[in-house]
């Protein structure tokens, strides 16, 4: 008699009894029930459309973004010096082939304020630097300027430029010879002047704050990236540690789209809240209009759970119809949008399932008040179409400020 099995059976029996009743009242009370279905269909459409739009936009934007050109597979950088711990940890990581310390600094120069990147001479000599004049810097005291910067400042190879750095209120100065003009292909560091890392660090007493990492295989880049991200969490690394890979812009694009659409999520949530209120109203109305038949059912021996099952079944059937209608409507709309407008939508099974779960949740939340009223109302109150109070204690009924239902 007791236990989940018998409960299930009891509920099944209950459904068998109330099913024909619920089906019948769907037919006879089409306006109210239609409104429930409409509210559910509306919110489902909104949800699916929004999710499809979001997914499509995110994908399209991510595809649009140009991957970064980097001196290595990964660049690890920090606002503060990296510290030996990070560099050794990186060098020890199994999937890392090489780690080259580098440094990036903002300097005040005789040709304005500029960011200078100090790299391993091996990287500077590689084919990643496109020279328009002169050669790549190889030793301390040599600098390569972006061609555009040099043109603006009126500089050419062989000129001597002054560099200084302000840190902690102290100014340090140095000089360098322009040995070449050109473009680095290091997208992320585009527009920066290039020097040899050691020379730059010695001149301004800098510690490495960039590491250029080469992974042993292209497939392992992600593994190394995860490794560095975990370093940040473990406290072994300084705060502000960041990993940049060729795919970083894509990640940024995705998060940007997410940020833009956060207000859209709020709107969807609002749609659901409003729809819930609407459904609550309709179910409440259906209760108000049916007090007498509900009273008869109670008098005939329907217990509270039977009545609850009855009302819920009726609502659920409408919610399912609304859900299907919403799915069809959003499907049609998505097709139409994709075909006739510049927008693109990408429906996913996940969003459809979520929409289904949300609409059922909506229904059950909205059903609470009418079901509770039905449960608490006495048979006589229902039969005589009297007002029903949420709390039937004398104080509540006596006050009657809410007017009852």
């Amino acid at each position: 008699m007791v236990g989940p099995g018998s409960n299930l059976r009891a509920n099944w029996e209950r459904l068998r009894v109330v099913r024909p009743l619920a089906l019948r009242s769907l037919r006879t009370r089409w306006t109210g029930n239609g409104l429930i279905a409409l509210a559910v269909a509306l919110s489902v459409t909104v949800f699916i459309l929004f999710s499809a739009y979001f997914a499509a936009t995110q994908q399209a934007v991510a595809r649009r973004v140009k991957p970064l050109d980097l001196p290595g597979d990964l660049v690890v950088r920090s606002t503060a010096p990296l510290g030996g711990g990070v560099l050794t940890a990186l060098a020890r990581q199994a999937d890392v082939r090489t780690v080259r310390p580098a440094v990036s600094a903002r300097l005040l120069t005789t040709f304005g304020e500029t960011d200078v990147l100090g790299l391993d001479p091996a990287l500077l000599a590689s084919n990643q630097v496109t020279l328009t004049a002169g050669r790549a810097p190889a030793a301390a005291g040599e600098i390569m300027l972006p061609a555009e910067t040099a043109a603006r400042a009126g500089l050419k190879p062989g000129d001597v430029v002054g560099l200084s750095r302000v840190a902690d209120g102290q100014v340090t100065g140095a000089q360098a010879v322009v040995v070449g003009l050109g473009q680095s292909r290091f997208g992320y560091f585009a527009g920066q002047a290039l020097m040899a890392a050691d020379g730059l660090m010695t001149a301004f007493a800098l510690e490495p704050n960039v590491a250029v990492v080469q992974a042993d295989e292209a497939d392992n880049v992600f593994k190394v990236q995860r490794f560095v991200e975990n370093l940040t969490g473990s406290g072994a690394a300084t705060a502000g540690l960041r990993v940049v890979t060729a795919r970083s812009p894509e990640t940024m694009a995705r998060s940007l789209v997410g940020g833009v659409f956060s207000s859209g999520r709020l709107a969807v949530l609002l749609a659901y809240i409003f729809a819930t209120l609407g459904v609550l109203n309709v179910i409440l109305l259906s209760f108000l209009q049916r007090k007498r038949p509900l009273g008869v059912l109670k008098a005939l021996g329907f217990d509270n759970d039977d009545l609850q099952a009855y009302l819920l079944l009726e609502g659920t059937l409408m919610a399912v119809i609304g859900l299907l209608a919403g799915m069809i409507a959003s499907g049609v709309l998505i097709r139409a949008f994709n075909r006739y407008t510049a927008s693109s939508f990408l429906a996913s099974a996940g969003s459809v399932v979520t929409a289904a779960v949300l609409s059922l949740a909506l229904l059950y939340v909205a059903s609470w008040l009418p079901i509770t009223l039905t449960r608490r109302a006495s048979v006589n109150a229902l039969l005589q179409n009297r007002r029903v109070y949420l709390d039937s204690t004398s104080a509540c009924a006596q006050c009657g400020r809410c007017g009852g239902f």
Partner: protein
């Protein structure tokens, strides 16, 4: 007429139920008004302080910053790169969003690194709703200041920014002052005599030690090495010293935030055990000097006249249309970043956290960036959505109202009211409730907006006109919705026969 009187009486008699309907309508109207006001964006009072600081309603920054995800399919070949916002751009955008320089941002191809003033003025001429163009010039400088415990003065890199004190008169002054006084036109000095120079410094900035009001401040500016197309190339190896008198401290509030420790734990008031909420401020390193005085400094540095601005502020005739104008400007100048000041306020204010350092000072940390704009079709969808759902609420509410009065309707019919009269009764009730509700919701939001409009020195006629327009929009919309969705319950009520209604009881 008796029908309408009855409708009014019913609304009053069923006050509780009517209130529910009114509330639903008010929420809907508030959302509608909110979304319309979003167009103006004046939801945050902090914007007024920014407006005075920026001297603009819309700000144009060099470089294209906005990416419109909605336009992804339209410009199919456009590829977005990651670029960093360089300090040479000279605008104050970096102090609003430092991550633009640190991590870079997604940029569509093209985008000018500075703004050609003459071309911009020409392009703006004849455009509606533009009241003034306020170019911003900054000169980088080194501030020499002696902090507590320093044996010798230290050096701090600061931007020195020109404030248009002459124009500021009509704007209600510059930024809010925390101590001392604001800059006044007389501070511009005379170009013919050796000028005494005056400046404002940020009361909250942690970029350099605090400089007391009334004290002298030494600024070293780099000489202008050469000018290329009206843009200076500074030589930092050749610094010229200028002395300024600090006449006041300014501060720009952004809102408030619970105070947290460096570890992220909330700081709790010892006695009451409540977490401490402190006002938050924008940490601006800029030193403000009168713009004419700054132009004088520029000439002494060896420059002639700047024809290219670091950023340009645009003041508008009607702030009600600020967002719309900004969108038009963005379209006209696709190579620049165009922001409304309210948008900037959000950029600067959102996610500002107050952190108590170990020494007991309060430091402000900045939030996230908002580089993308909401696609237009998405925002249109929101309006349609709130429309439909508000209507649904009205309809269901009216169903309840009529259901609870079936008996009364039956009696009406029994004493000879026609079904058309019952229909009119219910519909006029719906409309009455919709008007009351929407007005309530509308007034709640619009009062705030109007209040801000009033204080933002927009002409009263302009404010009144825009309010009227908004009223018509919202109330008209809600009445339309009410009629549309009120038809069903009214028809239901009119359809019911006397016998059906009176049979029970």
């Amino acid at each position: 007429m008796i029908i309408f009187r009855l409708a009014l009486k019913n609304v009053l008699k069923n006050a509780n139920r009517s209130l529910l309907a009114i509330l639903g309508m008010a929420i809907a109207a508030a959302i509608m008004t909110g979304s319309i006001s979003m167009r103006t964006g004046y939801v945050n009072p902090a914007f007024l302080d920014y407006r005075r600081f920026m001297q603009a309603d819309v700000v144009i920054y060099p470089k294209k910053l906005h990416v419109d995800p909605g336009a992804v399919r339209q410009r199919a070949t456009e590829e977005w790169e990651t670029v960093k916002y360089q300090p040479t751009f000279g605008s104050d955008l970096l102090s609003l969003e430092p991550r633009l320089a640190d991590e870079g941002f997604l940029a569509p191809p093209g985008g000018d690194p500075d703004i050609d003033l003459a071309a911009l003025r020409q392009a703006l001429a004849g455009r509606a709703n533009i009241a003034g163009v306020h170019p911003l010039f900054t000169i980088p400088a080194m501030l020499s200041a002696q902090g507590e415990g320093d044996a010798v003065p230290r050096f701090y890199r600061v931007p020195v920014r020109g404030e248009d004190v002459l124009a500021a008169k009509s704007w209600g002054g510059g930024p809010p002052i925390a101590g001392g006084r604001a800059l006044v036109p007389v501070d511009e000095g005379s170009p013919h005599q050796s000028p005494q120079r005056f400046a404002l410094v940020d009361a909250r900035s942690k970029a350099h030690p605090q400089i007391p009001v009334g004290s002298q401040m030494k600024l070293f500016f780099p000489a202008v090495r050469r000018e290329v197309a009206g843009r200076p190339v500074y030589d930092w190896s050749d610094l010229r010293a200028f002395t300024f008198t600090v006449v006041g401290h300014y501060q720009i509030p952004t809102g408030s935030s619970p105070l947290r420790t460096e570890e992220g734990l909330p700081v709790v008031d010892g006695q009451e055990g409540r977490s401490v909420i402190v006002p938050t401020y924008w940490d601006v390193p800029d030193i403000l000097v009168p713009s004419q005085a700054l132009a004088g400094v520029y000439r002494e540095l060896g420059g002639t006249a700047q024809t290219r601005a670091d950023q340009v502020g645009i003041s508008l005739n009607s702030m009600y249309l600020a967002k719309q104008t900004a969108a038009e400007l963005q379209q006209a100048f696709p190579n620049f970043g165009v922001y409304t000041v309210p948008n900037l306020v959000r950029l600067a204010g959102e996610g500002v956290r107050a952190i108590q350092t170990d020494s007991g000072d309060i430091r402000y940390e900045r939030g996230r960036d908002q580089q993308m704009v909401l696609p237009a079709d998405l925002s249109r969808t929101f309006i349609v959505l709130s429309f439909a759902i508000a209507g649904l609420l009205v309809a269901t509410n009216m169903f309840i109202l009529t259901a609870q009065r079936r008996q009364e309707i039956g009696i009406l019919r029994a004493i000879g009211a026609s079904s058309r009269e019952v229909f009119t009764l219910i519909l006029s009730e719906v409309i009455g409730l919709a008007v009351i509700g929407s007005l309530a919701g509308f007034l709640l939001i619009q009062l705030g907006v109007t209040f801000l409009l009033f204080f933002s020195k927009v002409s009263l006629a302009e404010a009144g006109l825009s309010t009227l327009a908004a009223t018509a929009e919202v109330v008209g919309l809600s009445v339309l919705v009410a009629v549309l969705f009120g038809l069903l319950p009214a028809w239901e009520a009119a359809r019911s026969t006397t016998a059906e209604v009176l049979r029970h009881e």
